[in-house]
Structure formats: C-alpha cells, structure tokens
C-alpha cells in the first residue's frame, strides 16, 4: 500500500515535472517570438522607424518671404505689405465648426460677411491648415481672445503679412490682386514644381502684375526645423534658413499720369493705353471702371463679389487688355499708309465724294450728308472722309489690307507682361475660312472689304493693340514690345534687372510717306476733327478721331444718338502721339458708348498729353496721390 502510494506520488511528480517542462518550453517560445519581433523592428525595420520618429519629432516650419512691392516709375507704392493679426480656425481640429464660430462671436465681433467669406474659403481652399474667420483684429480683440483661448481648441491668432493696395482702385487692372490659393492654383504650382516654395504661402497673384510677375514677387520661402512634442508645440529650434524676400517691381507706369487719365474718363467706361514709343514702356494703362483690389486679399465676401461680377459695367474686365473694339476711323491712317506704300494712291490723287459709295447694289454712306466733295488724301484724314476709304478698301483688297496693317500688330497679341490679352480680329480671307464652318460663310465677299476700309466690319482690336500701332507709327515703324515693368529690384542688394526695350520688328516705310502721314495727323489736331479738343495746345501733336458702330445701321436709316439706348451708342475713339517730331508719348483711347470720338475721346487724350508733356493738371484735378509712405 505504501509502495503504491509512493509510486503514485512518483508518477504525479513526474507528471508535474513534465508539465513544468512544457510550461518552460512555452516561455522560451514566447520570448523567442518577442526577440524575433524586436529584431524585426529594431534591426530590419530600423531605418523606417527612425525616419518615422524623426518625422514625428521634427517639424519643418516654413517662413514666408515678404512679397515684393510694386512701385510706379517714380517710386510711388502701388502694392505693399502690412502685418496684422488674424483669427484663424483649423477646420480639421474643430469638431463643430458652426458652434465654434457662434461661441467666438461672444469674444470678437464676427460679421455675417466674415461667416460668408469663411464658408467660401472652406470650399475653395480645401485641405488648408487654417483659414481666417476674422482679419485685422484690433489689439483689444487680440487681448480678449488670448484670455479665452483655452475655450477654443483649433482656433488661434496669427500674425500675418497682408497685401495692401494703398491707391485702391487706381491702376487696379495693372497691379491686379493676390488672393487665396485655390485648387487650380495648386495644380499650377505642382506642375511648375514649386510646391516646396509655396509651403506656408496662402496667397498667390491672381491677375495683373501680381499674377504675371508672381515668381519675382513671391521670393523664396525659408524654413525652420523645429523639434515639436506630440501636441505639436515647438520645443526648440534646430536650424533656420532665412527666407529670401521677393523682388520689387518698378514700373514704367507714371501713377500721376494714370490718375489724370482715369479722372478724365469721369463716369465713362473705356480704356486708355499710353506708350513711350522709343521703348515700348507703358506710361498709363486705364480700364474703367476699376475695382478695389483690397477686397480680394483676404478672400472677397460673396456680396462684394456679386456686386463686382454682376455689374453691367463689368469692372473686373480689363478692357485695355481684353476688350476688343472696332477701330473706326482711327484705322484710316494705316489704310492711307498702305495705299502709299503699295502704290495704290498718291497724296495728290483726288476722288469725288457724293456722300456715299455704291458697291454691289449696296449704298455705303458717309457721315457727312452730301459728301466732302473733292477729297485728296490729306483731306480724307483731316476731315475723316469715309467714301475715300470705301473706295481705297475696294482698290486694295482685303488681303493687301491685312498683310500691310498686320505689320502694326493689329489682330496679334502684343506680348505685354500681364496675362489675359485678347487677340482681336484682323479680317482676311484666310481668317474667315478659319473662323467659320459652313462653306458659304467662309467665302469672303468684296462688299465686306468696303466696311473694313473705314475700320468697321469684322475689325476688332484691343486698346493696347491700337496704342502699340500708333506708337509704332510715331517711331517710324519700329515696334517695341509693350511692357509695364521698367526694372526688377533685388531688395537685399539693390541690384536692378532692367527689362530691356525689345524691338519686335521694324516696318520698312518710305520717309516721304511717313512725313505725309505725320503732317496729315497733325492737321487733324490743328484744322480737322481733333482741332477743338487740341485748341491752343502748347505742343505739336498728331491725332486721329474715330467713332465705332456698336450696332449696324440699316440702309437709309440715320444714326441718331438720342434714339439709341445708351449701351448701343457708338464708341468714341482717339489715337495720338506728341510731340510731332521725336514723340515722347503715343496713346489710344476708347470711350464706350460715348458717341463721337472728337467729342468724347479726344479731350481725354488732350488732358493726358497736357499733363505728360507740360505737367499741367486739369482744373478739376482731385486729391493728390499720397506720397510714398514706404513699406511696413
């Protein structure tokens, strides 16, 4: 019995030892598994996890460069930066946006327009880290929020540089504006491989010089390597690379001249481009009405946007650049020059003007009832005789017209240094073939050439093209690329990168022909259609008036300004350069729906020339442009 018990005991002990052994083996296996895991993580995957830990630890904080300034030729600031506090929400870190904004209202004032703008930004700037709910906080508001900050996780105050256009709507189409980077901008930035440089940048040039010189103005983003904790708080700075500020743009534009020009338009819509013929530098670039570019900087609120976008005056359209108008009679000097150069007319050759020109059963009428009588080339320009040019057009033929006049840049982009230029239409047989689809529409009819001869018909050019053409004429056929920027200034070392005047091409013109045209255009301003506007001018000048039909006038129907709705009235045009010998300025003016060029457009040109050549301001001159207050 005792033996059995002992054996039992032995067997039980043996069993226990077996199980302890199994347990021990399991322990070893488990620890071996851990060891394998450690080797995997710490040896095989070491590089991956080390990088992960570094990414965790080190945050690259971009430091935005200061955007370059835009200054006029005399140093007046057109666009600058100022620093202000904004209240920004990080949508990703806020659970209930509406509630947060409602709560914020108890701390700082939030207007309905702020809410609307925030909503718009939410849609536009998808994925942005933080978006402003309020901009330009007062010191008091900053302090008030700072006290309540703990209540608003995901909401913070940021000191930001803001773009400011101190002259408001003056030259707004030239400077353009910056706005928040949207998805389309992002795609463009990606495509240009500039993503790194736009880290931390919220704004980008949207229109005008702000857009076309974005790369110069933006500068190079610096960055700071900051060690951060898990909450994203910076613990210490590891290294810092300073940003390189953007370059300043110094324009050829004279902002005082620009102001004179803009004021000369009064409430009229239209455009004016003034160019220095010997360089192509643009002296004034007007598109009326303008707009206040400051509205766009922190994201325009929907109400202001609707107002600008839906206004029948279309203030956002850059008319000088993208508006196309028939040149009307301002086309005639080029027609006359074509006739001389191609040997179709001599200055002395006369025609008899009965007040109309019959062609193919259609009567093309002259403005002057009864006609101008016997007309030579000089008289045809000075009195702006249509019949002369109906006939000339017919004699030259459309393709000769297109070929010769195209040399002056009509119907082609000028290559100016802002984007959005319209091409316009220089009609020709080829153009018509390309323009229309149906064979019967593609055919050029000789009758169509007649209207082209007086600058009507399919003719459509931008005011910029018209100015480029008259500047080319003023410079005896030498055509410069028009440009707004005079030089680009490196802020740090003061180095200037000059935008060299660039000759596009020179038109070979006989000096005697040029001499004649010059004399005839001078005659316009002394004894012709421009004489009243240029009465008692203290300088010599060349000019040509024009009136462009907006709607076609039916046969036998007399155009009557009073009976036509305002929007259907003729556009008034004027081209000019002065002084006559060695011209310093050439310009083109279009005043929309203002009637006769002589009455509405020529006086604007006169004011601009008076100011530019004599420094004379019109009597009703408004407030002085504030001087250069510098950048803050």
């Amino acid at each position: 019995m005792r033996l059995a018990e002992f054996k039992d005991h032995q067997r039980e002990l043996h069993n226990f030892h077996l199980r302890i052994g199994i347990a021990g083996a399991l322990v070893l296996a488990a620890f071996a598994l851990l060891l394998v895991r450690f080797v995997y993580l710490q040896v095989l995957q070491y590089d991956y996890y080390r990088t992960k830990a570094e990414d965790n630890r080190i945050s690259i904080v971009p430091i935005m460069p200061n955007r370059g300034l835009i200054l006029d030729r005399n140093g007046t600031v057109l666009a600058r930066n100022y620093s202000a506090y904004t209240l920004e929400i990080s949508p990703g870190k806020v659970a209930d946006l509406d509630k947060t904004i409602n709560d914020l209202e108890s701390v700082v004032e939030i207007r309905p327009s702020d809410r609307a703008r925030f909503k718009r930004l939410m849609i536009e700037a998808k994925g942005a880290d933080s978006l402003p709910i309020r901009t330009r906080l007062t010191d008091e508001e900053v302090a008030k929020f700072a006290v309540n900050r703990y209540r608003f996780p995901g909401v913070d105050i940021q000191a930001r540089l803001f773009r400011q256009y101190p002259l408001n709507d003056l030259a707004s189409h030239v400077t353009g504006y910056i706005g928040r980077i949207n998805e389309r901008d992002l795609e463009r930035i990606d495509a240009a491989d500039l993503s790194a440089n736009y880290k931390g940048t919220d704004h980008i040039g949207k229109t005008g010089l702000e857009q076309s010189y974005e790369n110069e103005l933006h500068g190079i983003t610096g960055y700071e390597q900051v060690e951060v904790d898990s909450a994203g708080r910076g613990v210490r700075t590891l290294s810092r690379t300073s940003p390189i500020p953007g370059n300043n743009l110094v324009l050829t534009l004279d902002i005082k001249l620009q102001q004179v020009a803009e004021q000369a338009f009064g409430d009229n819509r239209g455009a004016l481009v003034a160019i220095e013929p010997s360089t192509g530098g643009i002296l004034a670039f007007v598109s009326k009405p303008g707009f206040d570019p400051n509205l766009f900087v922190d994201g325009i609120d929907p109400a202001s946007w609707d107002e600008l976008n839906n206004s029948p005056d279309r203030p956002l359209v850059n008319r000088a650049l993208a508006g196309t108008y028939p040149p009307g009679s301002t086309f005639k000097p080029y027609m006359a020059l074509a006739a001389l150069e191609l040997g179709k007319r001599t200055p002395q050759q006369t025609i008899n003007d009965p007040g109309y020109f019959n062609f193919g059963g259609h009567r093309f009428r002259d403005d002057k009832p009864g006609g101008h009588g016997v007309v030579d080339m000089y008289k045809s320009l000075v009195q702006s005789c249509d019949t002369y040019y109906y006939m000339l057009g017919n004699d030259l033929g459309i393709d000769n017209i297109a070929r010769f006049i195209g040399q002056f840049g009509f119907g082609a982009k000028t290559g100016i240094d802002i984007e959005g230029e319209a091409t316009g239409v220089l009609p020709s047989q080829e153009w018509k073939r390309k323009r229309f689809k149906k064979p019967e529409q593609q055919k050029w009819y000789a009758g169509e050439t007649i209207s082209v001869g007086i600058g009507q018909g399919y003719n459509a050019y931008t005011p910029l093209q018209m100015a480029e053409a008259i500047a080319t004429l003023a410079d005896d056929g030498v055509m410069y690329r028009p440009h707004l920027v005079n030089y680009i200034e490196n802020v740090r070392n003061g180095e200037r990168k000059l935008i060299e005047p660039k000759v596009k091409h020179s038109i070979a013109l006989k000096p005697s022909n040029m001499e004649f045209i010059r004399r005839a255009l001078a005659g316009v301003n002394t004894e012709g259609t421009g004489a009243r506007a240029f009465a008692k001018a203290e300088y010599t000048s060349a000019g040509k008036t024009g009136t462009a039909q907006v709607v076609a006038i039916k046969q036998n129907e007399k155009y009557n300004e009073k009976h036509v709705t305002e929007r259907h009235r003729d556009h008034a045009l004027f081209i000019a350069f002065a002084p006559l010998e060695s011209p310093k300025i050439a310009l083109a003016v279009v005043v929309e729906n203002a009637g006769f060029g002589a009455r509405a457009a020529a006086p604007i040109a006169r004011q601009v020339l008076d100011y530019y050549l004599l420094g004379k301001k019109p009597e009703h001159a408004a407030a002085e442009i504030p001087g250069n207050e510098g950048d803050d």
């Binding site: 021990g24 322990v27 992960k52 613990v235």
Partner: protein
C-alpha cells in the same frame, strides 16, 4: 551578534531571486527617471513603493507555506465579496467600475485575486490530491470563472486575463488531462464570436486596431503606432538613456506605466531588450526550478502558477508595446510605475522564497 541577526533577517531570502528582482528594479527606476521627466514626483513615489513591496516580500517569505495555505480560503472569499461589492457599489473611474471606497482608502479588489486565485486553487487541489477527478477540475473552473467574469465586467480585461491565467496555470499543472485542454482550446476558438459579442466597443476596437493600426492613426491606433515607432527607432544600441525622443516629446502614451517598455526599448535598443528578456527568463527559470523542487502538491502548484503569472505579465506587456498583442492594461513586471502591481508581484516573489526556504521543514 549583528552577523547572527543579519543571518536571521536574511534567512528566508533567496539570493538568486532577490538579485534578479533587484536588477529589474534598477532598470525600472532608470527608465522611470527618463519616462517621468515631467512628473518627477513619480520617481520618489516609486522608491517608496519599492520599499513597501520589499517589506511585504520579506514578511511573506517568513510565513511557512502551511500558514499561506490557511489564508487561501479566507483570501479568496474576501476577494470575491469585495468584487461583488465593486459590482454593486464601486466607484466609476474612467468609465470602469474597479474601485471600492472603504471610507479610509480606495482599493482595487481585482488585485487581491491575482494572489488569492492561485492560492485558492492550489489549496483546493491539494485538499483533493488523492481523489482528483473531472469533478474537481470542474469545480476549479467554476472557482476560476466567477471572479474572472466579475473582473472582466468592470471592465478590466488586463487583470481578468492575469487572474484567469494564474488560475489556469494551477489547473494545468494539477494535471488537467490533455484531452480536456485540447477540447477547451477548441471550444475557446469556437466561442470567439460569442466573446466578441460580449466585448465592449473599445475592447473590440483595440483588437481591430492591432490587426491594422493605421486604420485609426489618431484614435485607437495611435498608442500602438507611436510605441512601435519608439521600439523600432531604438535600433540595436538605442538612443541612449534620457535621450528617447518619442518618450520625451510625449508621443508615447502612459509612458511611465503600461508603456514604459517603449521608453526602455527606445533608449536601450535591442541590446537592452535582450538584457531585459534574459533577466525575466532567469527569474522565471528560478521560479520554475523552485516549483519543481517544492515538497508538496500545494507548494508546487502555487510556485508554478505564481512564476507563470509573472511570465504572463512580461509577455503580454512587451507583446502589446511591440504591437503583436492587443492593448490590455498589464504593467511590465517590476519596471512599470505603480505600487499595487509592485506589491502584488513581490507577494508572489515572497511566496516563492517561502516555498523554497521552507521546503526541508515540510518534508516528512
């Protein structure tokens, strides 16, 4: 005289166990010094915890196993009563009902069960040593399951796991037939869907997160992702003591308690991990040796279960931190900050010492 006193004092202390435990405590304090850099109070507080735990160990080691056996039933009954008390009147902290307020102090009764459970089952099997049948194993399972369910319901999955493991080890070592073990394993697998349906949302999430931590990188997966990054970025030699970036920049959650291994691993690398594994292995080996040489059925079972529970702590914690086990609240034994777990662990070590030193006295 003094020498005699010292000998009397250290008589019951097993030097290998004590040295291994001490080595782990030193590593623990070093890691805590790094992990608790923003809460320095924890370092002195842990020193006090260690002194208390060592005193308890010493005291427990003085009792012969027969005395311990007498505690088994009362301790288990008390533990069970307190667990019921928690279920009915417990304080809710962090969404879990784990604490019982006794007026003077709050206690966590589930902790008692970590010791009471193996004690109770070892005693039970010892009592029925001569007549072990299926019935005894069945009763033992019931004795195990009731408190485990109560703890799991609190919910405290980590403690439930440890208590269940401790009880299971006793039953396993007591000779539960392999057929039943295999059967239980199969049944366990089969009941997984049922267990799943019983789980709390956060528990399910932890398991899903283990399978794919990146599915919720800022939520439940964050802990695992960050601790695995800490471990991996430690490399072979580690970033150096006090130089763990994951730890010091607060990327590691609970870095002085349950996730302290991430801090250790980041700063001491694979070499440190191997050292830690070795120390645990030696300590467990010593415990299993004590169990193998223990004189009675009770002491064998108790020593084996206590040792394997210690292993469970270490394995589950390191497995969780290195991302191969789901996140459950199990501290790294002798290293994590926290007095309760430390005392419980040293009670276990005290028991091992008692069993080892008294083995001759029990022998007939």
């Amino acid at each position: 005289m003094i020498r005699t006193l010292w000998l009397r004092f250290t008589d019951k202390i097993d030097p290998p166990l004590f040295m291994l435990a001490l080595a782990l405590l030193v590593l623990g304090m070093m890691t805590l010094a790094s992990a608790a850099n923003d809460t320095p109070a924890r370092i002195s507080s842990q020193a006090v915890n260690i002194l208390i735990a060592l005193s308890v160990m010493w005291a427990v080691a003085q009792f012969p196993p027969q005395t311990l056996m007498r505690f088994a039933l009362p301790a288990y009954a008390l533990g069970l009563a307190l667990l019921l008390g928690v279920a009915l009147f417990g304080d809710v902290v962090n969404g879990a009902r784990r604490w019982l307020n006794l007026g003077i102090t709050r206690i966590q009764p589930s902790e008692i069960m970590k010791i009471a459970m193996p004690l109770m089952l070892a005693w039970y099997f010892h009592k029925h040593e001569a007549t072990l049948r299926v019935r005894e194993y069945f009763v033992a399972c019931l004795l195990l399951l009731v408190p485990v369910m109560l703890i799991a319901r609190q919910p405290d999955l980590g403690t439930a796991l440890l208590v269940a493991a401790a009880g299971f080890y006793v039953i396993f070592l007591a000779g539960l037939s392999w057929r039943i073990i295999v059967g239980l394993l199969l049944a366990g697998c089969a009941s997984l869907p049922f267990l799943w349906s019983l789980m709390h949302d956060y528990q399910r999430r932890r398991i899903l997160t283990l399978l794919d931590p990146t599915s919720d990188p800022l939520g439940a997966g964050y802990h695992i992702i960050q601790s695995v990054i800490a471990v991996g970025s430690g490399g072979i030699a580690g970033k150096g003591w006090l130089r763990g970036t994951q730890a010091h920049l607060e990327f590691i959650p609970e870095r002085s308690t349950d996730f302290i291994f991430a801090v250790f691993s980041e700063e001491f690398g694979l070499i440190g991990n191997c050292l830690l594994l070795l120390l645990y292995l030696l300590l467990i080996g010593r415990g299993l040796a004590i169990a193998a040489n223990a004189p009675t059925f009770f002491t064998r079972l108790l020593a084996g279960a206590v040792t394997l529970t210690f292993f469970t702590y270490a394995f589950v914690n390191m497995g969780m931190v290195s991302g191969i086990l789901p996140v459950v609240g199990v501290p790294l034994p002798l290293v994590s900050f926290g007095g309760t777990a430390l005392v419980t662990l040293f009670v276990g070590i005290g028991i091992l010492m008692s069993i080892h030193r008294h083995r001759k006295l029990v022998q007939t």
